[in-house]
């Protein structure tokens, strides 16, 4: 990866971090409703994986999706507008925090029923295979999703039909508040892929360059040989969602992981490797702070979606019922 790409990647991770911190504040102020799942601590996963994709490769993820959206190339202001429920948001204000997508960026959501999007990934990869297009579908999901039926049915189908899917398990150690070992028969989650004959590996997820390199190889494998499974070891610094009392883990544990901050690790890497100077990185960070400020302003000033907008999203074709949607 050249210097310019590295600095873009650094800026993107910092942008995710700041966006999430600002979102938490807006949530406390009551400007964001519903659930809010922050990506703080996991930035290197989405950024590292997506840096290795071609634009034609599809991306899907679960409900912790703002960071993935940014990494997929969606503008911060559009993410922010969705968080505020505005018409200018990714999903016109109908999806909220958990349901962001942008088909033009090949980012297919943002899905909040645990595991439900894994079958979509199989189906999208099938569509590519059907049309003889060599796209890869990259499907992110949490450790918690590997215990649900969708996971097993989708992995099995991807192997039986030899579908071009990269399965990416973001193992952040807890499914909500339940530790992996308390919920999963196998603690080394990537080994579940062995049950379906899918090659797999486990990767340190706090170092974005390691994630990137693993993703590059894995995507190459998928494009040429079929499905692959990556387990990325990571950690979320904030609660599962806003208002999580975090009774299931200690401050010491969180503190240990914070010493391995993916943004800090990458900063050190860039400085030590002579890829960038302090001033350069600080300037990038200041630019991010301005961008977030503008994003909030854009979101706050954006129009609300209308009732008419909502009705128009439900069906494509004529809907003959005089009472509907009364």
């Amino acid at each position: 990866m050249d210097k310019e790409n590295m600095l873009d990647l650094f800026r993107e991770m910092v942008l995710i971090r700041h966006l999430e911190e600002r979102a938490a504040e807006l949530y406390q102020e009551g400007k964001i409703g519903g659930f809010l799942h922050l990506y703080i601590g996991q930035e290197a996963v989405a950024s590292g994986i997506i840096a290795a994709r071609e634009p034609r490769d599809r991306i899907l993820t679960a409900y912790r999706d703002h960071g993935v959206a940014i990494a997929a190339g969606i503008e911060a202001k559009v993410v922010m507008a969705e968080l505020l429920g505005k018409k200018t948001g990714t999903s016109h204000g109908f999806g909220g925090s958990m349901h962001m997508a942008d088909v033009d960026k090949n980012y297919w959501g943002g899905h909040a029923i645990v595991g439900s999007h894994l079958p979509f990934a199989a189906g999208m990869a099938f569509a590519d295979q059907y049309r003889e297009e060599d796209n890869v579908t990259i499907c992110f999901f949490g450790d918690g999703a590997t215990n649900i039926g969708f996971f097993h049915e989708a992995l099995n189908l991807s192997a039986v039909w030899d579908l071009p899917v990269l399965w990416v398990c973001e193992n952040n150690q807890y499914g909500m508040g339940t530790a992996v070992k308390r919920a999963s028969a196998l603690e080394e989650i990537h080994k579940k892929a062995d049950g379906y004959g899918i090659p797999n590996s486990r990767v340190e997820g706090m170092d974005v360059m390691k994630v990137y390199e693993a993703a590059r190889d894995a995507i190459e494998h998928v494009r040429n040989e079929g499905p692959y499974f990556l387990e990325i070891m990571t950690y979320r610094y904030e609660g599962h969602s806003m208002g999580d009392p975090e009774r299931y883990r200690s401050k010491e544990e969180v503190g240990q992981w914070e010493e391995n901050d993916p943004v800090g690790i990458f900063r050190t890497f860039l400085l030590d490797g002579g890829h960038a100077g302090e001033d350069e990185l600080n300037r990038l960070e200041e630019g991010v702070i301005d961008e977030i400020q503008e994003a909030v302003k854009f979101a706050e000033e954006s129009p609300e979606p209308t009732w008419e907008d909502l009705i128009n999203t439900v069906y494509v074709e004529e809907y003959r019922d005089e009472q509907w949607p009364r």
Binding site: S91, A122, A127, E153, A154, T313, V314, D321
Partner: protein, 323 residues
Amino acid sequence: MAKITMREAISQALWEEMERDESVFIMGEEVGIWGGTYAVTRGFYDHFGEKRVRDTPIAEMVIVGAANGAAMAGLRPVAELMTINFAFVAMDQIVNQAAKLRSMFGGQFTLPLVIRTVGGGGRQLAATHSQTPDAVFAHFPGLKVVAPGTPHDAKGLLKSAIRSDDPIMFIENATLYQVRGEVPEEDYLEPIGVSKVQRAGDDVTIITYSKMLQYSLDAAEELAKDGIEAEIVDLRTLRPLDMKPVIDSFKRTNRAVIVEEGWRSYGVGAEVAARLYEEAFDYIDAPIRRVAQKEVPLPYNQALEQEALPQREDIIEAVKGIV
């Protein structure tokens, strides 16, 4: 016009649409080499090949889920669920996903998806294999639910469903596959969401669909012997519910019996009756009656199963009670 069976009509619709559009494919349990458990897709695998006739594992969540994904990615899947009872295994993918993906993402996804499935009781398959839960699926905005009662409508509606850009549950009835009816030789479509008068009459309006259309037609012939002429409105589509022909008929007959194979509570009859009260209250001359399945899990025992299912005699009795 040729008289063909419902099975042949549905098979022709699938075949013709696959010939017409390369993006149409079928997937499901035993749709390929087996030829379909109800023989609807016999010959498809040899003609269209494995690429377009996909045998799947017995895994309903991923059958519908992968069909959702393939539809979002631009294909036109016809996903078959061997029976509607197995649709409950895939309920999340049907009601949480297919019905909502378009709206929840601001309209950017399109799901040109057909879920073909088979409902109905009366074949001694016991409680979990005999259900008619059509109304359950009709509850969810975002889906369309089609349930034809004649070969003509089955063919025309299935072709429309495959060409539609909305996700559609297409519910067949296992005991109708042998029913014969006239089907045009030429290409034709029937519009989704349009109810149809299948028999004219002035004394009472029978509102029904799917298998109960056949029962209602039989009952109407019996009633005619007693000088009672029933008008039969076939809903054909449960969502959207086209009430106009129903209300037009009811305004003339002022009497209604709603006949469905599923359970009575919260059913199709409940919805249609409520709409009649809301929209035609001044025309009501007699209590609106419902004929439906008695509310028990259907037993294996043949006599008891038939006891629980709605019969032609129940329709006749209900009509005679209000005319």
